[in-house]
């Protein structure tokens, strides 16, 4: 029974590691300038966690195999070095390992969250609401018009609560249900929720950020590959949470300019 248990542990550990080693289920190709830092951090953590996982399960299995169901008069032995050696090993090996992970990981975090967007980053507003994203581009004047929550009316397609009659800055704002951005251009995403908590997650861009009602938060990133990608909500926001999605289209600059003109004409 004990030996079978040892074998089971080892088999489970190896089977668990196979999909990781074969990259069966992984994040899609990174299309951002900062994502490689996250991917590298993930790989390093996977290597260290994987070794710790396999080593711990293997040693457990070996000791169960070796020391179970022994004769009643079998000699009781103490592991050489006792607890002291293990405590020192835990502090030195695991402590240094996790602190190194933490320190090196700061770079990936800082690149996205502790560094402000460059001055020429392109601003886009995204507003999340049950259960859709809407995007706003500032138009030719480069300025977003003010929003008036009391004017929000989805049936009239006034998703942001713009006062087109009185706010000149709002008149040229472009509101869309799809997000388009030019490739290799830094984007400064200004995030606002009109109702409850939501989130903005694009796997390929390596970005995830919650929307916080009452608090405007921002993200900045640069997409490096043309294509169409899914934006999904990861923060439970109500009954339609599963269906809250939009598309991000990364285009060449000229395609983007054409797209923006077309959307402006539809306003």
């Amino acid at each position: 029974m004990a030996k079978f248990f040892s074998v089971t542990i080892i088999v489970i550990a190896i089977l668990s590691a196979i999909p990781i080693l074969r990259h069966t289920w992984v994040a899609p190709e990174d299309i951002s300038t900062h994502g490689h830092l996250i991917d590298e951090q993930m790989s390093e953590t996977m290597a260290e966690a994987g070794i710790a996982f396999l080593a711990a399960q293997f040693v457990l299995a070996v000791f169960i195999w070796q020391f179970s169901n022994r004769a009643p008069d079998a000699k009781i032995k103490r592991f050489p070095g006792g607890a002291t050696g293990l405590v020192i090993a835990a502090f030195l090996v695991v402590g240094i390992e996790v602190l190194a992970l933490g320190v090196f990981g700061v770079k990936a975090w800082a690149d996205q969250y502790l560094t402000p967007p460059s001055a020429n980053a392109m601003p886009i507003q995204v507003q999340a609401g049950q259960f859709a994203f809407y995007f706003r581009y500032p138009g030719p004047d480069g300025t977003f018009g003010p929003t008036h929550p009391e004017l929000i009316n989805e049936s009239q397609q006034n998703f942001f609560g713009l006062d087109l009659d009185h706010d000149p800055d709002s008149k040229d704002d472009i509101v869309t249900a799809e997000m388009a951005i030019p490739v290799n251009k830094e984007i400064h995403l200004l995030m606002h929720s009109k109702d409850v908590g939501h989130s903005f997650f694009v796997r390929e861009l390596r970005v995830q950020q919650d929307f916080v009602p009452g608090l405007d938060v921002s993200l900045h990133f640069t997409a490096t590959k043309i294509g169409k990608y899914e934006i999904v909500c990861t923060q439970l926001c109500g009954l339609g949470h599963y269906n809250m999605k939009a598309y991000l289209e990364v285009m060449s600059q000229s395609d983007y300019d054409d797209w923006l003109k077309k959307e402006a004409a539809l306003q």
């Binding site: 004990a2 089971t8 289920w25 994040a27 899609p28 830092l37 996250i38 951090q41 953590t45 710790a52 996982f53 711990a56 399960q57 457990l60 000791f63 169960i64 020391f67 179970s68 169901n69 022994r70 009643p72 009781i76 032995k77 103490r78 592991f79 607890a83 293990l86 405590v87 835990a90 502090f91 996790v98 992970l101 933490g102 990981g105 700061v106 996205q112 929550p149 929000i152 009316n153 989805e154 049936s155 109702d195 409850v196 908590g197 989130s199 796997r203 970005v207 995830q208 950020q209 009602p213 009452g214 899914e230 999904v232 990861t234 439970l236 109500g238 009954l239 949470h241 599963y242 999605k245």
Partner: protein, 594 residues
């Protein structure tokens, strides 16, 4: 303090009426059994809900026969609506975290065994103790009543994030009355746990038998003591937070709802609240809660392993320090649940490092368990199998914590099934294995009869392999970006992952069915099991030195005197390779011999 608590002990006479004996009992052992029964009922409910969820996730539009009886609107024709999925998911999480993982290893086993293990007649405040159970019982009824009243239970998840939890019924089904019932239930639960924690702390500090110094307490007693210290501080934060949410619903306050929120084109009548405030309050409770669920398991596993190994751990003292370190650090790491929440990004670093550092005491615990096996005479029983399975699960769930402790990686894994896999393995399955180990180990003392070992081992094998089949793939799904809390997978990139969900569903149904073996074994053994001797495992701590089942005053009018450390195994004594704590016999250890 000692005098006050000692004076406060109610030297209650043996109960005579059925009601005082079995219902409103002051006896800590009866209260422990009541908590266990409550946890068992709650676990069956929670597992049933998880079956429904898994069937829905595997085969979305399949009608589940009879489900419409639970809710006509939530499951018309037996097909679950997306909102009903979220409602069931919320109830699954709430029931399991609060009424199973907190109730069974801490309140149930702790109530029954802590006073006996320290050598006390009862807890210092038996009426508080009785109240703690009945308040918890009412809390469970209030929670379950949300299936009946209004438009069903809340759909906001067990974390009940603001402002979805505070905007009322405009937020969706169950967000009005359902949320209020949830908050009332959890506030009551907190009161129950606070009363229980108070009793546990005073019992440990003030009612120890003669000779029972703190370092002579068994590992379980230490674990329950540390857990009760956490409970006292964690539940006392969650309870007022729940009350504030109730006020947002019924008194027009805006603690958790900010200004200018628009739902269904209507400007909400709130202003000035903070949605992040709820997350801080909740996770200040929520992360210690993880350790409230798991530290008793660490104690139980240590206690059972030592008995099964027939030798002491490499260092009991270090294990105790590590449990203490886990408890203290658990308050300093809670912000790792909020890396992408919108809080100051510098805070993420401040929460990340303690989260990484908590790996050290957790690693030491695993190393001491594992390397203590070296040179032992390990006895394989259902209890020791579950204890060893706990270690394997604790490792598997623990290493995935490396990822979630780092804010940069959390960008990719937050809100995905990776998190679900992580916390289910380390908190749910490991803690459940601790409960099962404790049940197989202590059942003889609690019920006076032995459980069937063959059935216990079958139960273990199906549960151990099944748990890996369910929860390891969750990690893979998360790495592929599979978002959790989705009722249906409509996104293009999620379609290839649906077969993995179906695999998990089949594994969950089989593993869940295996739990019926445990329930059968429990009930059958209770009535028809082999009568248990006083000390079937040849164990040393005080619960094995009294009669089986223990008399109402635990030691039959005697006052135990303790002569030894709790785990004198691998020795040469008149009874075998162990000496009980209450035995005055001088012992000669043989594990130090060359």
């Amino acid at each position: 303090m000692h005098d006050i608590a000692a004076h406060a002990v109610q030297h209650h006479a043996p109960p005579t009426s059925f009601i005082r004996k079995h219902v409103f009992s002051l006896d800590h052992k009866v209260i422990g059994k009541q908590y266990y029964a409550l946890a068992l009922v709650a676990a069956i409910c929670g597992m049933f809900l998880s079956w429904l969820m898994r069937i829905h996730l595997g085969w979305n539009n399949t009608a589940i026969p009879g489900l419409q009886l639970l809710s006509k609107t939530g499951a018309p024709g037996g097909v679950m609506t997306p909102e009903y999925y979220l409602q069931l998911m919320t109830m699954h999480g709430t029931i399991m975290v609060f009424f199973v993982l907190t109730t069974a290893p801490f309140a149930a086993f702790g109530n029954f065994f802590l006073p006996i293990q320290v050598g006390a007649e009862d807890m210092p405040f038996p009426r508080f103790n009785m109240m703690s159970f009945w308040v918890t019982f009412v809390a469970f009824l209030v929670l379950m009543s949300s299936f009946i009243f209004g438009d069903g239970p809340t759909l906001g998840g067990w974390t009940q994030y603001a402002p979805l939890n505070a905007v009322g019924s405009v937020g969706g089904p169950g967000q009005g009355l359902g949320v209020i019932l949830w908050m009332v239930s959890i506030a009551l639960f907190c009161i129950g746990q606070l009363l229980g924690s108070l009793n546990f702390i005073t019992t440990t500090l003030d009612l120890r038998a003669k000779g029972m110094s703190l370092m002579r307490l068994p590992m379980t007693a230490w674990a329950w003591f540390i857990t009760s210290c956490m409970g006292l501080t964690a539940f006392s934060v969650l309870m007022p937070a729940c009350i504030l949410v109730i006020l947002d619903h019924v008194a027009g306050t805006s603690f958790f709802v900010s200004s200018n929120e628009v739902i269904n084109d209507q400007l909400q009548p709130h202003s000035g609240g903070s949605t992040l405030l709820w997350q801080h309050l909740f996770w200040f409770f929520g992360h210690p809660e993880v350790y409230i669920a798991i530290v008793p398991g660490i104690g139980i596993v240590s206690h059972i392993l030592i008995t099964s190994m027939r030798k002491q751990m490499l260092s009991q003292r270090v294990l105790i320090y590590c449990m203490g370190a886990l408890a203290v650090l658990s308050y300093m790491v809670y912000g790792h649940h909020m890396f992408v929440s919108g809080m100051n990004p510098y805070s993420a670093l401040a929460f990340s490092f303690p989260t990484l550092i908590i790996t050290i005491p957790a690693t030491i615990v695993v190393l001491i368990w594992t390397f203590s096996l070296y040179g032992s005479r390990l006895r394989i029983t259902s209890a020791s199998l579950f204890a060893l399975g706990f270690i394997s699960m604790f490792v598997s769930g623990g290493v995935s914590g490396f990822f979630l402790a780092q804010p940069s990686i959390d960008i990719m894994l937050h809100g995905t099934y990776f998190v679900v896999g992580h916390f289910h393995m380390v908190m749910a399955v490991a803690a459940m294995f601790g409960i099962f180990a404790g049940t197989y180990f202590w059942f003889p003392k609690m019920a006076g009869r032995m459980m069937n070992e063959t059935l216990g081992k079958i139960h273990f094998w199906l549960s151990f392999v099944g748990a890996y089949c369910i929860f390891m793939p969750f990690h893979y799904l998360g790495m592929a970006g599979n978002v959790r809390r989705y009722a249906t997978f409509v996104d293009d990139y999620l379609q290839p992952l649906i077969p993995v969900h179906r695999w998990i569903t089949v594994a969950a149904l089989i593993t869940g069915a295996a739990q019926l073996i445990f329930i059968y074994n429990l009930i059958h053994s209770r009535f028809w099991g082999k009568p248990a001797p006083d000390n079937p495992w040849e164990a040393t701590s005080l619960e094995w030195s009294t009669a089986t089942p223990p008399p109402w005053d635990n030691f039959g009018g005697k006052h135990p005197v303790v002569y030894h450390d709790p785990y004198q195994y691998g020795v040469q004594s008149s009874v075998g390779d162990y000496v009980m704590q209450t035995s005055p016999e001088q012992v000669k250890t043989d594990h130090d011999e060359k």
